[in-house]
C-alpha cells in the first residue's frame, strides 16, 4: 500500500509537471506557440511510469491527464476528455501487451527480449504506443465529430499526434539524462 501511494504521488507529480511545462511552452515560447502537438512532453510520463511502475501507475497517470484540462485550465477542450485521456494512458500498456503477445515480454535483465534498462527498447514501446494513441484517439474524435479548437480531426492531426508523442518523449529522456547526470553517476558507482 505504501509502495502504491509513493508511486502514485510520484507518477501524478511527474505527469502534471510535464503537462504544465508543455502547456507553458505551447502558450508562451515564440516559434513553438500553438504547435504543442508536435512535441507532446506528457507522453514521456505515460511511458516511463507504466514501464517502471507497472499498471499500478495508471490511476495516477489518468488523474494527471485530467488535471490539466479540468483543474488547471478549465474549458481548454470543447469536448469531454475523459475517454480520450483514458485511451492515451492505456496506449502504453497496450503497446507492452502487444509486444508480449509477439514474444517480446518486458523484463529487467540483459536476457529479457525487452529490457527496461535499455533505452532503445523503451523507444520501441514509445513508438508503438504513440501509434496506438494517435490512431485510437483520432478515431474516437472522428467518430464523434469532435475537434480541437481551430483544428480538423484528419490524417494530418493523426500524424502530428504520432510524431509529437515520439518527439516529446525523446526530448524528456534527453533532458532527464542531462539534468540527472550527477545522480546517474552516483548510481553507477
Amino acid at each position: 500500500m505504501k509502495n502504491f501511494l509513493t508511486l502514485s504521488v510520484t507518477t501524478y507529480l511527474f505527469g502534471i509537471t510535464l503537462w504544465v511545462l508543455w502547456y507553458f511552452v505551447d502558450q508562451n515560447v515564440p516559434f513553438l506557440m500553438g504547435e504543442g502537438s508536435w512535441y507532446y512532453l506528457p507522453h514521456a510520463a505515460r511511458v516511463l511510469c507504466v514501464v517502471y511502475f507497472g499498471y499500478k501507475a495508471i490511476p495516477a497517470l489518468y488523474l494527471a491527464e485530467l488535471s490539466g484540462p479540468y483543474l488547471l485550465v478549465p474549458g481548454l477542450y470543447p469536448f469531454s476528455s475523459y475517454l480520450p485521456s483514458f485511451i492515451s494512458v492505456i496506449s502504453v500498456p497496450l503497446a507492452i501487451q502487444v509486444l508480449r503477445l509477439l514474444s517480446f515480454p518486458l523484463g529487467d535483465t540483459a536476457s529479457s527480449p525487452l529490457n527496461k534498462r535499455n533505452y532503445k527498447h523503451i523507444y520501441l514501446i514509445t513508438f508503438i504506443s504513440a501509434g496506438f494513441n494517435a490512431i485510437l484517439v483520432n478515431l474516437y474524435l472522428s467518430r464523434n465529430e469532435l475537434n480541437f479548437p481551430g483544428l480538423i480531426t484528419n490524417i494530418e492531426q493523426l500524424s502530428r499526434f504520432f510524431v509529437g508523442d515520439i518527439i516529446g518523449t525523446v526530448l524528456v529522456f534527453v533532458s532527464l539524462s542531462y539534468i540527472l547526470k550527477p545522480i546517474i553517476a552516483q548510481s553507477r558507482n
Binding site: 509502495n3 517502471y52 511502475f53 533505452y119 542531462y178
Partner: protein, 98 residues
C-alpha cells in the same frame, strides 16, 4: 518501498545508457585532444595505433595519455590489445560503435 527504489534504479540505468550513447559524459580538453588523435590515427592507418604514436601526435605527456586511455577504455569507447610487432606495446582500437 524497496521495489520503488529498484524501479527508479532501472530508470536511471536506462538514462545512463542514453547518456553514454549521446556521449554527454564529461571529458576535459586534454582528454578530447587525445581522443581526437586516436580517431585521426585510426583513420590514417586503418588499424589501431600504438601509445607512442598517440603521445607524439597529441602533444600530451605520456601520463596524460595513459590516464585518458584508461578512462576511454572504462567507458567502452576504446579497447587495448597487445601489439603484434612489440608485445610490450599496446595497440589502441576504437570500438565499433564510434
Amino acid at each position: 518501498m524497496k521495489e520503488f527504489y529498484k524501479n527508479i534504479g532501472d530508470a536511471l540505468s536506462m538514462l545512463d545508457g542514453l547518456e553514454k550513447d549521446l556521449n554527454i559524459r564529461h571529458f576535459t580538453p586534454n582528454e578530447l585532444k587525445v581522443f581526437y588523435t586516436i580517431i585521426i590515427q585510426s583513420h590514417k592507418t586503418n588499424k589501431g595505433s600504438n601509445i607512442t604514436e598517440i603521445v607524439e601526435n597529441s602533444g600530451m605527456s605520456r601520463s596524460t595519455v595513459y590516464k585518458t586511455l584508461k578512462k576511454l577504455s572504462s567507458e567502452d569507447i576504446i579497447s587495448l590489445s597487445p601489439s603484434d610487432r612489440d608485445g610490450r606495446e599496446s595497440l589502441v582500437l576504437l570500438n565499433s560503435r564510434i
